[in-house]
Amino acid sequence: MLLTAEEVEIIFLSLRVSLVAILVSLPIAFALAWVLARSRMPGKFILDALVHLPLVLPPVVTGWLLLIAFGVTGPVGHLLQHWFGVTLIFRWTGAALAASIMALPLMVRAIRLALEAVDPRLENAARTLGAKPWTCFRTITLPLTLPGIAAALVLGFARSLGEFGATITFVSNIPEETRTLPLAIYTALQSPTGDLLVWRLSVISIMLAIGALLIAEWFARSYRPARDHVV
């Protein structure tokens, strides 16, 4: 299947938006997962609910909230514009922000599960062997969490590729700027001559999704030894 220049543009924009989204989300998701899995702070359930909000809210609402916060006159958008000259609204970076917010709950869940599966007794053993807290984290906790982090990246990437509602609400549907795969499919559906493009873009979406799943499976297999129980 040969791709037209327009399709290549759409695919690369989608990949760029999704990659930036998960790379931005990863450290935040890890920090949130750590707090949710390990800390005993009061009111943790409120944080838990907030993290899960994008999963249960209609995406249009999430997009609208982003519009209010990050719009040119919004509290965050205004500061970004004023201090750094950065505008997110109607830009691909805004699409990445929307995708990262939508991917965050899934990524937090995957990492949190992996962190909860790390046996704290192994960390205790490391501490008695002379490992400082940071060394213990780097050599024991993090390597044992890697399968969860990989799963989080793949899930987040797939979620970002499919992001529609929050994106179109927040950054609109601008060709070559915010028109990612789902938005391009939606646009083609509105056009009386768009049938072929809908087909082609849908097949591309399916292939990207399958590719992501295969990569996830490969990660899960290559890290399986690390998940074995402790003798």
């Binding site: 192994l122 205790n124 998940r227 003798v231």
Partner: protein, 205 residues
């Protein structure tokens, strides 16, 4: 005095206390299951903080007035019931874990000497999950010895082993006691084990 310990540790709704001063060799903390032996051992290793008391080993204060050393500062070579080898590392990396994080001047034996001492040279490339219980416990003891410990703390290290393996590991512990002469705090509920290994017995419960 190797161990000079007088602590009170609260665990949930009950309180565990222990007070003893013992010399070198193996100090056995002996008593029935559930009496809090492991709790005391964990307090000595720094994995639990006592409510009050004093923990000194070889005249080094680890816990006391305004002092509470972190586990990694105590140089306590801990051997757990279940081995607790790191599943994502091969045997050699497990053995070198504490070695890497300790000062050279504190090392008891060289790496290869330790491996020979325990007879685990043929296991270095193996994954922990492929080891038998006895092999895993030897590696765990090696890992503790290689962390340049001031003393060893052993928490029922034989409980998961069958008769022949128990005897084998007890021989290893006797050799550590008699040849390396490092103080050992040894938790057990088994009378015959304690009678064979202990220099001094502290009864709890």
């Amino acid at each position: 005095m190797s161990f000079d310990i007088d602590v009170r540790v609260r665990r949930g709704d009950r309180t565990v206390t222990a007070a003893f001063k013992t010399g070198g060799g193996v100090t056995a903390l002996f008593g029935p299951s559930g009496v809090g032996k492991t709790t005391i051992l964990h307090a000595v290793a720094g994995l639990l903080t006592p409510d009050t008391g004093r923990i000194c080993v070889n005249a080094r204060v680890m816990f006391g007035a305004n002092i509470n050393l972190a586990p990694h500062e105590r140089r306590c070579g801990m051997v757990f019931q279940d081995g607790r080898l790191f599943p994502h590392m091969r045997v050699e990396a497990n053995l070198r874990y504490g070695w890497k994080h300790s000062a050279e001047r504190h090392h008891l034996l060289g790496f290869s000497e330790t491996v020979d001492f325990l007879g685990i040279g043929h296991l270095l490339d193996r994954r922990p999950r492929t080891l038998s219980g006895g092999e895993a416990q030897r590696v765990a003891i090696g890992r503790a010895l290689l962390s340049a410990p001031e003393f060893l703390a052993m928490d029922e290290p034989l409980v998961a082993l069958d008769g022949a393996r128990r005897n084998e590991i007890m021989t290893v512990i006797e050799r550590i006691r008699d040849e390396l002469r490092i103080p050992i705090l040894y938790v057990s509920h088994d009378r015959s084990e304690v009678d064979r290994l202990a220099t001094q017995i502290v009864e709890l419960g």
